[in-house]
C-alpha cells in the first residue's frame, strides 16, 4: 500500500484514503461548445500513459476531499512530487530531474 502525501493536509496518509482521478493538466476549454471534434477527442479521450513520469490527479477522498496533482514514476510507483491543484505543470527540465 502506498503512502501518499496530501499537500493540503500536509501529511502522509495511506492509499486507502485517496482515489485516482486520471491525467492532470487537461484543461477544459472555456469555449467548450466551439471546439472541433478533433479537439474534443484530444481533450476527452486521448491519454498519455507514459512509462516514466505520469502527471496525474488524486483526491484525498476520505480525508480533506481536495483534488491535487502528483508526478508519479509509473515504473517504481514512487510519488516524486505532490502539488496543489492550480499550480503549474512541472517543466520538462524538472521532470528530467525527478527521473534521476
Amino acid at each position: 500500500m502506498l503512502l501518499i502525501h496530501c499537500p493540503y493536509c500536509k501529511d502522509d496518509r495511506p492509499e486507502l484514503e485517496f482515489s485516482n482521478a486520471g491525467e492532470a493538466h487537461i484543461v477544459r476549454p472555456t469555449n467548450m461548445s466551439d471546439i472541433s471534434d478533433t479537439e474534443f477527442e484530444a481533450m476527452f479521450f486521448m491519454r498519455d500513459n507514459p512509462k516514466g513520469i505520469a502527471l496525474e490527479r488524486w483526491r484525498h477522498a476520505h480525508g480533506c476531499g481536495r483534488f491535487f496533482n502528483v508526478a508519479r514514476n509509473t515504473v517504481s510507483d514512487k510519488f516524486l512530487k505532490v502539488y496543489k491543484a492550480g499550480e503549474p505543470r512541472p517543466s520538462d527540465a524538472e521532470i528530467e530531474e525527478l527521473l534521476k
Binding site: M1, S19, F44, R59, A61, F67, S76, A85
Partner: protein, 992 residues
C-alpha cells in the same frame, strides 16, 4: 544409542527438547508419541517413520526432505476439531513446520486406500503420458472428449489434499504497526542486527517463521562465539532483546510479502501449535508493518541433489538431518549414507556419528575435498569416496541401499537406511526480489545474489550470499549503523560450494526429480528445451517446475541450470523467474480478518428500517443500503403483495421510505451558475419554491445521474441523486468545482443521511398529510406539482416536495433523520385508516415503469444520451455550456441508428419478457441474428392487467407500432413497439 521402545530414533544425548514432556498424536489413525517442541516430521522420524505422503502426479511414495518451510513432499492434512470435522481441516500443511500438540490428528494425502498401498501409483506406469507439456499435448482433441474424458480426469488428478467443507470458524486479526527497523529472520544475522539497532534506541520489530529464534545456530553443535555455544549466544541475545522495551520479537511469524514504500506483510500463527487454544486468541494475526528500514535476514535454503530415484523416503537434506539431531534429538537412520557437493554435509555426518549413527559412506561429487575433512572422516573411520556419485537407490517405500558410481567408473551398491544429501545453499532472494530488487548472477559461486533494492532495505547473512558467521555479524551490525563486533568465532562451517543441475547420471533408469511437489524430472526439463522452450518462464510453465505451493524453493536453480546447459547459454541469459508474494502459503483468513459476514461491508439502514422490519417487509440490497422491497400480508407471495400495493397506491395512497435517495446541498452565490454547468437543464428561470427534474451528463454526453432538484432560495438547492449514485455525483461535482471552476462561490455538502424522506403517493396523499403540515399551504392551487416548501410536519422542521414518481398526486417529506420514524408513524396512523398501504421498492419500480420514468443504470447503461432516453425536453438549448453539451454534438451521438428508449407490449398480454433479452426484427434469420436492441425494464402491471416493458432499440422512436421479436431458448415472443407511458398518458392523475 539405546533407542527407547516408543521413539527408537530419539537420541538422548542430543537436542533441546525435554524428554519428560511427551505429546500424543495420530498419523493416519495410528497413535504416536513425540516430545513437546517436535514438528510432526521430527516426531514421526523419532518413531522411524519416513513415508509421509504420495506425490502429485505419479503417486510416488514420499518422505520428508527438509526441516523447514521449503518442504516439497511431506504435505499432510491436519484436522483441528474433533466435533466439527469439516471446518477445521487444513490440507497441505508441511510436516516439517507443523508443531505437534496433544490430540493432533494428522492424515497423509493423495493416496487411496492407504499410504503403503496406493492404487494411484498406477500412474507411475503411465509415466510416458505425463511428460512435460502433457496437458497441452494429450488433451488437444477430439473436442468432444473434453466433457466426458479429459476434464473429469484432470479434475480428479488435480489438487492436493482435501479442502474444508464448512465455513472457517476461526477468528483472524489484523494489526498495523510502524517501526524504525523491521528485521525479517531471527537467525545469527537478524539477532545481531537487532542487537545493534537496539543499542541505538531504535524501535525494532524482529520476526521469524520458527517457534524459536536463533536460526541455524540452534542446529549447529560445533560453533562457538566468544567461547559460548551458538545456542547459548542465542539465549543471551534474545534475553537482552526481550528486556528492551523498543524491541518487539515475533516468532511463528512469516514475512510473506514486501510491498511499496517498505510495507511488509507478516502473518503470525498464534494457535496452530496449541492443543486447546484460548478462545480469546485469534488463530492468526496479520501485521501490516511500515518500516523506515527493512533488514532482510532470510537465510539460505539447502538444495537437494538430482539423481535417479532421489525422492525415495529416507533421502533427506543433510542440513535437515543435522537440525533434527541437534535441535530435536532425532536421528534419520541407523546406517546413513551421505551424498554431497559441499562441506556442510560433513558436519551433519560427523554429528550423526557422534550420536551413535553408523555412517556407511560419504560420496562426494567433488574431485578434491578439503584435507581437514578427509582427516576427520578418517579418524572416525568413515569411508569417503571423492569424485563419485549416487546414480540410483534401492527400496521403494524406504531406501535400503545406494548405487554409487566410483571415481574409476565402476558401480558399487552400499547398504543404507537413510541418505543425507546436499548440493549447497541457495540464498533466499524472495523478499529482496519482491521489493523490486534485481537478482544479480555471481558466476564464481554460481548463485544469484541481491543487489541494490530500490527500497530502503538491505540483505544480510546467508540470503546475501555470505558464507561465514564473522562476516555475517559484521554485515548485520553495519546494516543497522553499528561497527563490526569483535567476537572470537570458532568451528564455523562455510556455506560455500555446491552444484546446480544434474548431479550424476547413469543409464537412463529411474526418475531424477528436480521439483518434488509437481513431479518434474530432469528429463522433463530437457524435453521442454528440446521442444522449443528457451526462456525459463516458458520452461517453467511447460513443465510446471517451481509452480507448486513451495514455489520451487528447492528446484528453481536446478531447473535453470539444466535448461541453461541444454541451451549452452549462461544461466542469467535463460533467466530467473520472478519471486512473488506470498513467500510461503498464507491463509485467506489472515487476509480477510474480520471483513466477513456482516462485517464484510457496511450495511446502511434508514431511520424507518426497523418499522419496516416490524411490519413484515422483505428487504433487498441497493448498493450498501437495505431497502424495504415489499410488505407481504399473511398468505401473500411477492407477486400478490406487489399487485395489491400497486392497486392501493393508484386507488387510495401508499407510503414509501425514500430516505436512501442521495441528497446534496448546493449552496452559495454561484449555486445557480454551478447547477447550470453540472446539469443539462436551465436553472436561472426556476423560482425559489419550485422543483425540477434534472439530468447530469458526463462530458461525453451520456447520462450519468438524474434526480429532482428543489430550489429553496436563489443561493440554495436541494439536489437529489439516485440511491447508488450519491458518492460519485458528489465527487463529480467537487471535481468540477475544485479544478475547473475554483472561483465559483459554491459549497457542496452530502446530506443523504441527515434527512429521512417519506413519500406519500396516491389520490388520498394530500388528505393524509395535510393535517400534519404547518407553516405552508399545500392546497392544489398554492402548492402545484413540482413545488418545494420549508415548513413543519408534525412540528418538526421539514422540506416538503410535491413530486411524483408514480404518476399520482404525490408528496415527499424530508425531516431530520432522528425524527424519521416518529413522523413516519404519525403519517401511518392517518394513512392506514384511509385505506393506504406501505409499499416497497418493487412496487415503486412497477409504478414508475407504468409511467415510463427511467431508472439511471437500469434503463441507461453509460451509452445513452438524454435524447436517446426521450428526455430532450430536459436539455437546455440556449445555455452556452454545460457538462456534456459539446459531447452531445459528436457525430456518433447525432447520427441515425442510435438505440432509443421505447415501450414494448407483448402480443400475449400475460407474457412477461426477461430484462436483458435481445430484440430482433426477423426471428427466422440465420444465427447469429442481428440484434437491434434489448429489454431494460419488464414488469407485470396489475393496474393494466398486462405485462409492460421498456427497451433500447435502434431508431426506436421511428418504429412505433412495429412488430418485433424476442427469441428465447424455448420460444419467440412477439412484441409491439410503442411509447414508454403505459398508464395515464395525459398525466391527469398527477393532480389527484
Amino acid at each position: 544409542m539405546t533407542p527407547s521402545s516408543k521413539q527408537p530414533y530419539r537420541a538422548k544425548s542430543h537436542g533441546a527438547l525435554n524428554h519428560a514432556r511427551t505429546v500424543r498424536f495420530t498419523f493416519d489413525g495410528k497413535p504416536y508419541e513425540g516430545l513437546e517442541g517436535d514438528t510432526l516430521a521430527s516426531a514421526l522420524l523419532a518413531n522411524g517413520v519416513h513415508l509421509m505422503g504420495r506425490s502429485f502426479k505419479y503417486h510416488r511414495p514420499r518422505g520428508v526432505m527438509s526441516a523447514g518451510v521449503e518442504e516439497p513432499s511431506a504435505l499432510i492434512g491436519i484436522s483441528r476439531d474433533k466435533s466439527n470435522s469439516g471446518a477445521r481441516v487444513q490440507p497441505n500443511v508441511r510436516a516439517s513446520v507443523q508443531e505437534i500438540y496433544d490430540g493432533m490428528n494428522a492424515v497423509s494425502q493423495n493416496r487411496f486406500p492407504s499410504l503403503n498401498f496406493d492404487l494411484g501409483a498406477v500412474n507411475s506406469l503411465l509415466a510416458p503420458f505425463f511428460a512435460a507439456g502433457f496437458y497441452y499435448k494429450t488433451f488437444m482433441w477430439p473436442r468432444k472428449a473434453w466433457d466426458k474424458v479429459y476434464e473429469p480426469f484432470i479434475r480428479r488428478a488435480a489438487g492436493l489434499g482435501e479442502s474444508p467443507t464448512e465455513t472457517d470458524p476461526d477468528r483472524y486479526a489484523n494489526r498495523f504497526e510502524h517501526c524504525d527497523v523491521l528485521i525479517i529472520g531471527g537467525g545469527a544475522a537478524g539477532l545481531m542486527a537487532a542487537k545493534t539497532a537496539a543499542a541505538k534506541k531504535q524501535r525494532i520489530i524482529l520476526c521469524d517463521e520458527n517457534p524459536s529464534l536463533g536460526g541455524w545456530l540452534l542446529a549447529d553443535s560445533d560453533v562457538t562465539i566468544d567461547g559460548k555455544s551458538g545456542t547459548q549466544w542465542v539465549k543471551d541475545t534474545v534475553a537482552e532483546l526481550q528486556a528492551n522495551e523498543n524491541v518487539r520479537l515475533l516468532t511463528r511469524t512469516t514475512g510473506f510479502g514486501y510491498f511499496q514504500q517498505n510495507m511488509v506483510g507478516l502473518v503470525e500463527r498464534v494457535t496452530d501449535h496449541l492443543a486447546q487454544p484460548d478462545m480469546d486468541l485469534p488463530r492468526e494475526r496479520m501485521w501490516q508493518v511500515r518500516a523506515d528500514k527493512v533488514v532482510i535476514a532470510q537465510g539460505a535454503i539447502e538444495r537437494h541433489l538430482v539423481f535417479a530415484d532421489n525422492d525415495r523416503p529416507g533421502i533427506v537434506l543433510a542440513g535437515a538431518a543435522q537440525k533434527w539431531l541437534n535441535q530435536f534429538g532425532v536421528t534419520v537412520g541407523n546406517n546413513v549414507g551421505v551424498f554431497t557437493a559441499c562441506d556442510t554435509a560433513y558436519a551433519a555426518a560427523f554429528d550423526l556419528y557422534e550420536a551413535g549413527t553408523h555412517i556407511a559412506v560419504i560420496v562426494d561429487q567433488r574431485a578434491t575435498v578439503d584435507q581437514a575433512l578427509l582427516e576427520q572422516a578418517n579418524e572416525l573411520g568413515i569411508r569417503v569416496m571423492p569424485n563419485a556419485g549416487v546414480v540410483g537407490v534401492t527400496g521403494k517405500l524406504r531406501i535400503n541401499g545406494i548405487k554409487v558410481k566410483t571415481a574409476s567408473g565402476s558401480e558399487e551398491t552400499i547398504e543404507v537406511d537413510a541418505l543425507i544429501t546436499s548440493a549447497g545453499w541457495t540464498p533466499s532472494l524472495h523478499l529482496y526480489s519482491q521489493s523490486r530488487g534485481k537478482p544479480i548472477w555471481d558466476e564464481a559461486s554460481q548463485r544469484f545474489l541481491p543487489g541494490q533494492s530500490p527500497q530502503a532495505c538491505v540483505s544480510i547473512g546467508a540470503c546475501n550470499g555470505t558464507n561465514d558467521l564473522a562476516t555475517t555479524f559484521a554485515e548485520a551490525a553495519k546494516a543497522t549503523g553499528g561497527r563490526a563486533p569483535k567476537l572470537e568465532i570458532e568451528n564455523d562451517v562455510s556455506l560455500a560450494g555446491g552444484t546446480i543441475g544434474m548431479a550424476s547420471e547413469s543409464a537412463e533408469t529411474g526418475k531424477a526429480f528436480v521439483d518434488f511437489q509437481n513431479d518434474v524430472t530432469a528429463k522433463d526439463i530437457k524435453l521442454a528445451v528440446r521442444e522449443g522452450m528457451h526462456s525459463i518462464e516458458h520452461v517453467k510453465r511447460y513443465t510446471t517446475n517451481g509452480m507448486a505451493t513451495d514455489q520451487g524453493k528447492l528446484s528453481n536453480m536446478h531447473g535453470l541450470s539444466i535448461a541453461a546447459k541444454m541451451l549452452d547459454k549462461p544461466v542469467p541469459e535463460v533467466g530467473l523467474t520472478t519471486f512473488r508474494a506470498p513467500y510461503t502459503p498464507t491463509t485467506f483468513g489472515s487476509f480477510v480478518a474480520h471483513a466477513r459476514g456482516t462485517l464484510f461491508d457496511p450495511s446502511r439502514k434508514t431511520p424507518i428500517h426497523e418499522w419496516a422490519q416490524e411490519n413484515g417487509a422483505e428487504f433487498e440490497p441497493v448498493s450498501l443500503w437495505q431497502r424495504a422491497w415489499y410488505f407481504p400480508r399473511p398468505g401473500e407471495d411477492m407477486h400478490e403483495a406487489v399487485d395489491r400495493e400497486c392497486r392501493t397506491v393508484r386507488t387510495s395512497a401508499g407510503v414509501f421510505d425514500a430516505s436512501t435517495l442521495g441528497k446534496i446541498e448546493v449552496v452559495g452565490p454561484d449555486a445557480a451558475a454551478f447547477m447550470n454547468i453540472m446539469y443539462t437543464n436551465g436553472w436561472d428561470k426556476l423560482k425559489p419554491g419550485r422543483a425540477k427534474y434534472g439530468i447530469m451528463c458526463r462530458e461525453d454526453g451520456f447520462i450519468y445521474d438524474d434526480g429532482v432538484v428543489g430550489k429553496l432560495s436563489d443561493t440554495r438547492f436541494h439536489v437529489t441523486t439516485t440511491t447508488g449514485g450519491a458518492p460519485r455525483v458528489l465527487n463529480h461535482m467537487e471535481d468540477y468545482l475544485q479544478t475547473e471552476f475554483p472561483d465559483m462561490q459554491v459549497w457542496l455538502t452530502s446530506t443523504t443521511e441527515q434527512w429521512a424522506t417519506i413519500a406519500v403517493q396516491g389520490p388520498k396523499a394530500r388528505e393524509i398529510i395535510q393535517p400534519l403540515v404547518t407553516g405552508a399551504d399545500i392546497s392544489a392551487e398554492k402548492f402545484p406539482h413540482m413545488s418545494v416548501v420549508e415548513c413543519q410536519v408534525c412540528g418538526v422542521p421539514a422540506r416538503l416536495f410535491r413530486i411524483s414518481f408514480t404518476g399520482e398526486l404525490g408528496f415527499e417529506i424530508n425531516v431530520p433523520a432522528d425524527y424519521g420514524r416518529a413522523v413516519w408513524e404519525a403519517i401511518w396512523e392517518r394513512a392506514e385508516p384511509a385505506g393506504a398501504c406501505a409499499y416497497g421498492t418493487e412496487t415503486m419500480h412497477v409504478l414508475r415503469a407504468e409511467k415510463g420514468y427511467i431508472i439511471v443504470g437500469q434503463d441507461t447503461d453509460g451509452t445513452v444520451t438524454p435524447h436517446d432516453a426521450g428526455l430532450s425536453w430536459a436539455v437546455a438549448k440556449s445555455k452556452p455550456d454545460f457538462v456534456g453539451k459539446r459531447g452531445l454534438q459528436r457525430p456518433d451521438l447525432t447520427a441515425s441508428g442510435r438505440r432509443q428508449l421505447v415501450g414494448l407490449k407483448t402480443s400475449d398480454p400475460k407474457k412477461v419478457v426477461q430484462e436483458g433479452a435481445q430484440i430482433v426484427a426477423d426471428p427466422e434469420q440465420a444465427i447469429p441474428m442481428k440484434m437491434i436492441g434489448f429489454v431494460t425494464s419488464s414488469y407485470w402491471s396489475g393496474t393494466l392487467e398486462r405485462s409492460i416493458a421498456m427497451a433500447v432499440l435502434e431508431d426506436g422512436f421511428a418504429r412505433m407500432g412495429e412488430t418485433l421479436y424476442i427469441p428465447m431458448e424455448d420460444e419467440v415472443i412477439e412484441v409491439e413497439v410503442e411509447g414508454t407511458v403505459f398508464y395515464d398518458p395525459s398525466g391527469e392523475k398527477i393532480n389527484g
